[in-house]
Symmetry: D2
Amino acid sequence: MNVLIWNEHRHEQQDQEVGKIYPKGIHGAIKEFLQTDDIHVETATLDEPDHGITDERLNKTDVMLWWGHLAHHEVADEIVEKVHQRVLEGMGLIVLHSGHFSKIFQKLMGTGCDLKWREADEKERMWVVNPSHPIVEGIGEYIEIEKEEMYGEHFDIPAPDELVLVSWFEGGEVFRSGCTFRRGHGKIFYFRPGHEAYPTYYHQDVQKVIQNAVRWAKPTSRTFSSYGNAKPLEDIKAKS
Amino acid sequence: MNVLIWNEHRHEQQDQEVGKIYPKGIHGAIKEFLQTDDIHVETATLDEPDHGITDERLNKTDVMLWWGHLAHHEVADEIVEKVHQRVLEGMGLIVLHSGHFSKIFQKLMGTGCDLKWREADEKERMWVVNPSHPIVEGIGEYIEIEKEEMYGEHFDIPAPDELVLVSWFEGGEVFRSGCTFRRGHGKIFYFRPGHEAYPTYYHQDVQKVIQNAVRWAKPTSRTFSSYGNAKPLEDIKAKS
Amino acid sequence: MNVLIWNEHRHEQQDQEVGKIYPKGIHGAIKEFLQTDDIHVETATLDEPDHGITDERLNKTDVMLWWGHLAHHEVADEIVEKVHQRVLEGMGLIVLHSGHFSKIFQKLMGTGCDLKWREADEKERMWVVNPSHPIVEGIGEYIEIEKEEMYGEHFDIPAPDELVLVSWFEGGEVFRSGCTFRRGHGKIFYFRPGHEAYPTYYHQDVQKVIQNAVRWAKPTSRTFSSYGNAKPLEDIKAKS
Amino acid sequence: MNVLIWNEHRHEQQDQEVGKIYPKGIHGAIKEFLQTDDIHVETATLDEPDHGITDERLNKTDVMLWWGHLAHHEVADEIVEKVHQRVLEGMGLIVLHSGHFSKIFQKLMGTGCDLKWREADEKERMWVVNPSHPIVEGIGEYIEIEKEEMYGEHFDIPAPDELVLVSWFEGGEVFRSGCTFRRGHGKIFYFRPGHEAYPTYYHQDVQKVIQNAVRWAKPTSRTFSSYGNAKPLEDIKAKS
């Protein structure tokens, strides 16, 4: 199984504090807990040629993770088109935190994907509302994060196919933090936590959810649908 | 349009403090804001014969509201069967607060309908997560209730057909507070607030949601489905 | 209530047979059964300036209907952007038949929206699978259309929020023919029938569904969500 | 992984024609294609003591399959209660064909579960409408069965969490044939085909779907939710 972690990778280089938390980048931190004997992980970042998303690489990717924030507009439209096409063909996509505003997520959702936010070192509790979902296998009743950026409703997304986690924030807001969607043959999981200024990706339960999500989003092997002009009726009647 | 408000009506008679808040009973308080020129409202309570739910009354009811708490087990199974049947035939049902544990709600859901609770005078904020839903027409971004009983996840219900409101509680919990379900031809709305010890049903936004829900849950007029042995194939082929 | 029917209006002018069926255009035929005392209907077509979709017109439209087929690519991207924005703000959208491949529907869905089709004068039966939905109020168990173009699964859309109608076709296919979606504050209904070569829009049940759908898709009046940087935590704490 | 196939096992003994098709019973036929190195399969039938569903057996079962038809009313209510409880605790349940009318399925759905039917040797085509779902992994665009009993809409179930397969029947009907539901911690799959008078369970694609469904329905390992009176607010505040 091939996983590609895409990270904007700007905060870590521009902001010393962030760089200290994620010395190998957010992608590097995620890679460390995703890699196993049966999962081959590669990483790609915005400033590489083609943002590190070459056709060859994309075509062999089973599940892609996406973290972006400052520079969504710098992601080339043609790359977004290619990633979109791959999702519709079956590639899984895990969209992390501020990736909610990425071109690829907006294109897949068809909505603005806007939300409320506040940087105030708030406690977050993500409650499991779909306890038999494989994405929360091994997770308790909730995941508590000591300090995180707040994301609040209304989150302008289509109603998720499955709502898995709902966040509570100290300051008075709630948020649909774990949402699944299917688009074409691809499975998508949006997962809220992971502001660059907090060590959230070292949190064991956050890691566990991402590990589970990657396995859940793996493409199924099946015959693709045929579209367009179907067999003439005569053939079908003859066959009957 | 005929609305029937069913209330257990025990707390108000047994507990002086509750009686002061709802001198005409919870059903009486709800009746006052539901009654309009085009909505005829009646009420029924547990200790009336047949719990006030006679066949004649039930058959003409378009939407029923249900509030119960202490005495769910005292509601006769045969009455529950009749209400269940009427919902499947198209009667709307609004289940309020601790009605989550009523026999009728459990029977319609197929699950235990359990949840967490705490009586600690907590602030509640119900956030709108489905802003175009008619049930929240005229409501702002959230409804704030100064003090209420806490209800927390996991709420053991099937995934609602539509999730409309999600509550935040001071103490750290969240709750799916406004949920729609369709069962048979009937529309069901579960609405969380309304602990007997708080004047919640005098809250203008809570009233507005219940008013909207009653109109939303009104039966549609349509031909009923036929079930069982369908016309023989020959007839159909001949007809084609 | 203001309704705008948008029609490509090419088939009716280019193909004599189609012109005979819809002498006033498909938009003209739909206008006739939609107009009532409380519904003001206007029409717009591709070849008008701005495709007949001026800002002024769009801003006052409550529900828009969309029929297109041959010339989806001729619809200007900036017009599509504006319609998309209006849907997210709350305008209802009814997408008809081959409008499944329109830019606006694809943009709202985030998928390819492809399907199978066959022109073979097949009988279609649209079965009601959500009998209490207001869109099928007054409709029997199914709608039968003597001859229509076949549309078959897989229909490459996100799982609809509500599945209302499923079609059966003589030649062996099924299709999710009546689907609701919510995007932003807007309600969307996709409704399959209406190939230009058949007099489908004169079918009483097809008309009834479209009439119902327009009322269902009407925007609700509510406060809009605020997005972006939320109030600082201090204010909120002080307020508590 | 422990699988328990429950079969009414009356048709096979009472009707010689059925007995010829399924000499080891329907349960025996299913057992043969479900058993693998990692799946231990047992069977149980109506006429065994406790219908073969002892506490010991039930407690270790991961996924149960249910086939019944003639004698739903003979299944003891207390056994139904136990199976229901086990599903809510996480046991998967695959309900087959006429099991739609079983007490356990009705109890989990909360609706009548009625449908149309016709025995007329009709061709059935089950179309995949959710192509990335693991239950249809390895399946083409549709499954064709030469002759089957017809089941037609309206199927009186709650809207499924996921709709995977929709059937077309020669005589003019459609049916939601593959539906998933979650109730409590348990995953449920309803799968239409399998009338006793046809050799449907020898059909390779039907077998593949059931094999996939059993793996999909396997319980996840997780901490159970706590319900009831939650920790006092003071503790939580102190902890914050």
